[in-house]
């Protein structure tokens, strides 16, 4: 059965855009006992592309931060097609710091084509906002677990991707830039998206092989859209197990392990 599920990168690209593929709004009520949403970055505004709040999983309080894909055009308008502005990343950082203060672990759900590219995003420091999150998450004194739900595109994904353990859903993709962007930059032809997806090494298996992810979360046969509840259960099981494991580790040891996890990625010779 597992064998039957192995799709090619272009097939996965199509699957993660399936209209019934569950989003974080579908998963939250199935994974957590409760969820209280919090808004705003306290500097500029509230970004609908990133939602966050306090939740509990099997009785354990956690902070949840997630990139929000819409399930229809209105939801997508409200969440800007999951492309965050700087205030979204700053909201995420505010909630992460709050989690640190109250000794709650942080759970991040990644699902974005990338950070929003626009004039206002530049004016408000898109680069700085992402950089700050990456650095602060690296030294956040509480466990961080991240899960790629659908697509993880570029720095916009990494801003929620510095963590102690990264899991990727079986058909999700994680990449330095969207395959479309890759084709358009390197070949000046965005239509060669599928070809780009095939050579970029962006699948869940690639992530584990390259040391980027620790765990692949299985999807039901044919993809997550076929059984939302089963997928949510698989995610919940991973989260609970991993949280229990990470919560036992002394925080200084955990921070060192987090640094080393990223420190060792890269291939060079001297």
């Amino acid at each position: 059965m597992e064998k039957m599920n192995k799709l090619t990168p272009p097939e996965r690209l199509e699957l993660i855009r399936h209209k019934d593929r569950p989003t974080v709004r579908d998963y939250i009520p199935m994974i957590f006992d409760e969820f209280i949403e919090m808004h705003g970055d306290r500097h500029f505004g509230d970004d609908g592309a990133i939602m966050g709040g306090i939740a509990s999983i099997s009785g354990m309080p956690v902070t949840v931060i997630a990139e929000v894909k819409g399930r229809n055009i209105n939801e997508n308008k409200a969440s800007n097609f999951a492309m965050p502005h700087p205030e979204g990343y700053r909201k995420a950082l505010r909630l992460a710091k709050q989690a640190e203060k109250f000794h709650r672990p942080v759970i991040c759900f990644i699902d974005t084509p990338g950070a929003f590219c626009g004039v206002d995003a530049e004016k408000r420091g898109q680069g700085e906002a992402i950089a700050r999150n990456i650095m602060e998450f690296m030294r956040l004194k509480t466990p961080i677990i991240s899960v790629v739900l659908g697509e993880g595109g570029s720095g916009g994904a990494l801003a929620l991707g510095v963590c102690d353990e990264l899991a990727v859903l079986e058909n999700s993709l994680y990449s330095v830039i969207s395959p479309r962007g890759f084709a358009s930059i390197l070949w000046k032809d965005a239509s060669r998206e599928n070809e780009a997806a095939s050579i970029m090494k962006i699948t869940a298996e690639d992530m584990v092989e390259l040391g980027v992810a620790e765990k692949i979360i299985e999807e039901p046969l044919g993809g997550a859209q076929n059984d939302h509840r089963q997928t949510a259960e698989n995610i919940a099981e991973f989260l609970y197990k991993t949280l229990c494991k990470k919560m036992k580790i002394d925080i200084d040891v955990l921070l060192n392990e987090r640094y080393t996890k990223f420190r060792k990625i890269g291939e060079f010779e001297e």
Partner: protein, 297 residues
Amino acid sequence: MLEDLFNVVKTRFNGTSASAENTEEKDDKAVEIPKDMLFKCPRCLNVIMTDELVKNLKVCPECGYHSRITAEERITLTADKGSFIEFDKDMVSKNPIDFPEYESKQEALREKTGLKDGIITGECTIRGERCVIGVMDSRYMMASMGSVVGEKIARAFEFATENKLPVIMFTASGGARMQEGIVSLMQMAKTSGAVAKHSDAGLLYIAVMTDPTTGGVTASFASLGDIIIAEPKVVVGFAGRRVIEGTIKQHLPDDFQSAEFMLEHGFVDMIVERKTMRRNIAHILKLHNPCKCKEEK
């Protein structure tokens, strides 16, 4: 002295970029007719003599745009003479995602530029102040950040943390190196993590944004300096200008994503001209040197 330096470098420049389309003829041609006698400023579009540009430290005399210089030139302009000691000078990247023709492309660039990758790191003194320095060189794949750039930066910060030294990073980059896929994205986390450790040790990091500082480099260590300096008129931003124009379907104003734009919006501490850069950095270093302050007391 600086003029001499640039004259030396200019000769080499003409030799390398004069006839890219015909490499075999390159050497002969460069000697006879230097094609790069004219420089068209990308900011004000004025055409000036290369000689004049070089005399002016490669700053456009018309508009003040600080054009790109090589890492070697930057180190000569910044470090005390003879003080620079290079780190990791033989490090070269592998091909982590087996990207087609990545190795051959790099070999050709190494040949052409004499560089091993997009950054040179090391330690030096600046007006007597010891520091770790990193200089990105856009001639090498737009100094995009892959394994080597990430590793050299991380090691430079780690060395500085161990030896309690400040770090100066001259940034110039097109962003993440596409040819290394997700591995290049992870370098953003690696470098930012090394900056965090250096910062936690109470040490100073000055980022100097030079032309162009964009993408994943802006979204990682370049934006994390305690003090961020930019050279006048250079491009600094996250998303590419063309990408944004494509999204909003409008032409963007010329000063969009310039050093001045970043200053106006609060993401740069100061804009410093090339001719006073060394003096300014040395001054800031002195103000952060606790030993010096104590000695003077």
